[in-house]
């Protein structure tokens, strides 16, 4: 009985996701403004990134504030493979994902023994060390960064100077893939294990959950998807340097939509991104261009407000109410 209502809820979620994606796919029919299209691309990208972050930090409960490392690895792998070896970006993104997953596993091996603040600070420290190394790595352009050489618009080279739409559809696809991966995992053995690890690692261990391997798997999946997003971003902005793809602010930007929408929920990251990214982009363009810091102030106040006012996130608050109603 409970199983069948659970299954139908899951099916409804999937149908809803496909409908939302279809509706978003139709947006360019009405939205012709390039500035707004640009904002939509970023919103979808952060929905995808935050969904990836949510897998490790939300579902598995290992709060990472170092995901900028994986984002930057994806961006650098994609552009370096293309500019130095002529590898097409679509393969470069996959390679970046694999490298990031390997790094996540290598980093996780010692770090998943750490608890609480020790773990959070370790993630920051490792990402900062990565940033320092990239800043000093001459072959990879060091602090100057690398530019995508212009090769004309094509999917093969993943360059589109004339229109934002290809980027838009790719970002939409990425967000959908990240959502479906989360949806799939939620009901799998891994999904149950992760939530068990999050709620009480010791109890989970005693019930036979392989805690360490669970964390490693979550980190690898999360890092892979984040790096693909980084590769996409590099192509989208066509110029990267260490500060612009690996700085701490990206780690925060990936976490915040999930925090706003609801940590460890299926819809939280997408809902959070849909609210947060337009607000930050609009304040940035209207007030931030002057370099006066208005955008930071608005952003910071928003983050404080979210943390204090909606500790369970928008989606979390909604489903808690629904649960209370049906009970």
């Amino acid at each position: 009985m409970a199983g069948s209502s659970h299954d139908s809820a899951r099916r409804n979620n999937l149908i809803l996701a496909i409908c939302v994606a279809a509706a978003v796919a139709c947006l360019p029919l009405v939205v012709k403004d390039v500035y707004i299209q640009n904002m939509l691309v970023l919103t979808l990208m952060y929905a995808a990134l935050s969904q990836s972050w949510n897998i490790l930090s939300g579902y598995c409960g290992q709060i990472s504030l170092g995901h900028a490392l994986y984002f930057g690895l994806g961006a650098y792998a994609t552009l370096l493979l293309f500019t130095k070896f002529g590898v097409l970006p679509r393969f470069g993104m996959i390679a970046g994902g694999v490298i990031a997953a390997a790094v996540a596993a290598a980093v996780g091996y010692p770090c998943f023994r750490l608890k609480g603040h020790y773990f959070v600070i370790a993630t920051i420290v490792i990402a900062e060390a990565g940033l320092l190394l990239m800043l000093n790595w001459d072959w990879a352009g060091a602090a100057m960064g690398i530019e995508v050489p212009v090769r004309g618009d094509s999917w093969a080279k993943f360059q589109f100077a004339r229109s934002k739409l290809p980027y838009f559809y790719f970002a939409l696809g990425l967000a959908l893939v990240a959502w479906i991966v989360t949806w799939k995992i939620e009901d799998s053995r891994w999904g149950y294990w992760w939530r068990a690890v999050k709620d009480n690692a010791e109890a989970a261990e005693s019930l036979g959950v392989v805690v360490f391997r669970s964390k490693m798997a979550a980190a690898a999946v999360s890092a892979f998807l984040t790096a693909v997003g980084g590769g996409f971003y590099a192509q989208f902005v066509s110029y990267i340097d260490p500060e612009s793809v690996m700085s701490f602010q990206f780690s925060l930007l990936m976490a915040l939509p999930a925090v706003l929408g609801g940590i460890g929920t299926l819809w939280g990251p997408a809902v959070g991104a849909a609210i947060l990214i337009p607000i930050t982009e609009v304040t940035r363009s209207y007030a931030g261009g002057t370099g006066k810091g208005f955008d930071l102030i608005v952003y910071g106040l928003l983050v404080m407000g979210i943390a204090l006012g909606r500790p369970e996130g928008i989606v979390g608050a909604f489903s808690a109410r629904k649960r209370a109603k049906t009970a």
């Binding site: 020790y118 420290v125 701490f248 608005v298 106040l301």
Partner: protein, 292 residues
């Protein structure tokens, strides 16, 4: 020649390390007291540096002279942040750990934005401080006077802190609250008041550190970020919450930084600190001096 260079770099590492200890002291105090990591700690430091800079511009006060005033102002600021923000974050109904992290992060971003708005992103410095540019030569080793003064301020501050914690009623209440915040209510200690005073004291300590740094470091809105990360590393190495652990860890961090700069290019000097952190917490997950 080489031996001299090694001693020279050890000495400057030691001075810087004492200052790092002072920067981290307030963070460690607050963490030990109530299990909260203040992610706006770097911005507290930045604010203190601008305060020292402002007092210099307005009254031609040297940062070393204005340090007590900066510390006093930061005491009030710290208590206000607790009463106006952290108090509510701690009573969050869900995800309490996450709420504390992001509430203080939000504060950090806001403070950085305000600094940009009020002071522009330009780099400032105090051109004619008492000790600026002066060095002391002791037994063939050059000691930059501002750093030396900062190290002495740090020693004095830790000495005073030791007296406060061990010899005053407030210190005893602080220790008691830190050990068991629930039980102290039974003996008539107002927990909230102690927390507010703890945040005030933490603010005052970082205020001192900011004034000291203002004598020889550039002042700009993002200046807190790199010092904050070093402070987190210092506090974690010292064993979260141990104020005197942070003191020892600060010295270690300073010396390791100087040692790294000796071996690797100077732009990579923080790598040594990061490696030290990872090594220590992996081998000893409670930090060097942490109990439990």
């Amino acid at each position: 020649m080489t031996a001299e260079a090694v001693i020279q770099s050890l000495a400057s590492g030691l001075l810087m390390g004492l200052i790092y200890g002072l920067v981290a002291a307030g963070l460690a105090l607050i963490f030990g007291l109530m299990d909260v990591v203040n992610f706006a700690h770097g911005e507290f430091l930045m604010t203190s540096m601008y305060a020292a800079f402002g007092l210099y511009l307005a009254f031609a006060l040297d940062p070393l002279a204005s340090a007590p005033f900066v510390a006093g102002a930061m005491f009030v600021f710290g208590a206000v942040v607790y009463l106006g923000l952290v108090r509510f974050a701690m009573s969050a109904s869900a995800n309490a750990g996450m709420v504390q992290i992001f509430a203080t992060f939000g504060l950090a971003i806001t403070m950085r934005g305000l600094a940009q708005l009020l002071f522009t992103p330009d780099y400032r410095s105090i051109p004619h401080s008492w000790l600026g540019g002066k060095t002391l030569k002791v037994a063939g080793i050059f000691l930059p006077a501002p750093q030396l003064a900062g190290a002495l301020v740090s020693l004095a501050a830790f000495g005073a802190l030791w007296l406060v914690i061990n010899k005053t009623d407030f210190g005893r209440a602080l220790e008691a609250t830190r050990e068991d915040a629930g039980a102290v209510a039974l003996v008539g200690i107002d927990k909230k008041r102690i927390f507010a005073l703890g945040w005030g004291l933490g603010g005052a300590l970082v205020g001192l550190a900011g004034a000291v740094l203002a004598t020889f470091f550039y002042i700009y809105p993002d200046v807190g970020a790199s010092f904050a990360l070093i402070a987190y590393v210092t506090v974690a190495l010292g064993g979260f919450g141990s104020v005197f652990g942070a003191f020892a860890a600060g010295i270690l961090v300073g010396v390791v930084e100087a040692g790294t700069a000796f071996i690797l290019p100077a732009s990579l000097k923080y790598l040594g600190i990061y490696a030290l952190y990872l090594l220590v917490v992996v081998l000893r997950p409670r930090g060097l001096f942490g109990s439990l």
